[in-house]
Homo-oligomer: 218 residues x 2
């Protein structure tokens, strides 16, 4: 089965470069997370609220991953933070090599946190280590409460779950308790935040968590 | 570059089986569409409203594709139509071979329409022909109006766009005119429907289109 062999080689090569990224992040005392979700769940909006809240306290840089366009990098750049856009040109996930290349354009000394916003895809990015400390999976209430059971790989590989768009709960068929329960059934160790980027509910708690992670670094 | 060569071989083999599926559908006079979207955009909900509306007029069967669980097949089965669940076990898209295998479990004679609900993923399913007459891409207003520009492959390869969850427009930052404009910029030939599976807005027009497609078959 040559396809599987080559797929394994691709993943092994990716893991090798991810480790180089991880070593680089450690040398600079950087807290790095890989932000993953379906398209339109609110990754960039969460980043905007995060930068708005933390930019005077925590030095943050962003790597944006998209299939096409630099819209997300433009949105993030308005907050005056370093940002690099990776366009995958059809690719369904970021790989460690793409992140490594992007890092060449960011001055790492002096930074506290690096956020890597992955391509919007609840399946493929689960399997690609980028060198991050952890994955944060974002799910929107509008997607319904069954997604952790239907896309378990991503929830299993993540350490943090952000349930976004809680302001829309009155209008959508999503049982918040069931969503939490389903996620914790797949991964009981998940740390869960509930946010709305519109009302800013939950944003302070989420931002305090990031600040605490970054201050724990050497 | 062996990876690319093998990827090409995989796609060539897929296209060959897709053609076998297409020939089979033609022999039975079946109208077949491949329903694609992000996770949680409302593919199964749209199917439920469609079956509710059309089941006395059009004989419909469904092939469900999911990474994990048979929740969607269970939802569809309540409408008394033939349904087969494909579980990809981590796979990010359906392939023609999986559909071919699923077809063995459905009595095709007497059917008018077959709906193939793909895995929730706005990237990977764009490149895999399953033998369908056309792709229908569903996008939810909650995903924002920029998705056609950010994930152009799927919108380029689809023939029909369903903009779902229009009932949520008052609560989400989505400009419906911009969403249509962005989609038509990528693919000017797209036929566009606007629906809500909650209020049933637009469902009659969508269902009439399906009925017309099926009655046009030999």
């Amino acid at each position: 089965m040559p396809v599987i062999t080559i797929e394994r080689k691709v993943l092994a090569k990716n893991d090798e470069i991810a480790q180089q990224n991880r070593d680089l992040f450690a040398r600079h005392g950087l807290f790095v997370f890989n932000l993953v979700s379906s398209p339109g769940a609110g990754k960039t909006s969460l980043l905007e609220r995060t930068l708005e809240t933390l930019r005077d306290r925590v030095r943050i840089a962003v790597v944006e991953g998209d299939v096409q366009t630099d819209f997300d990098a433009q949105r993030v750049a308005r907050y005056g933070v370093p940002v690099v856009q990776i366009v995958t040109n059809g690719g369904c996930h970021l790989e460690a090599r793409l992140v490594q290349d992007a890092l060449a354009a960011i001055a790492l000394p002096g930074l506290d946190v690096l956020v890597i916003e992955n391509v919007g895809n609840l399946v493929c990015p689960a399997n690609y280590d980028l060198g991050e400390a952890l994955k944060v999976v974002l799910v929107s209430t509008t997607e319904g409460d069954d997604k952790p059971l239907k896309y378990p790989g991503m929830f299993r590989n993540a350490s943090v779950l952000v349930i976004n768009k809680v302001d829309l709960l009155p209008y959508v068929p999503c049982d918040l308790a069931a969503l939490r329960r389903n996620a914790l059934q797949i991964n009981p160790a998940l740390r869960v935040f509930e946010t709305s980027c519109t009302t800013k509910a939950g944003i302070p708690e989420w931002c305090e968590w990031i600040a605490a992670q970054s201050s724990r670094r050497p």
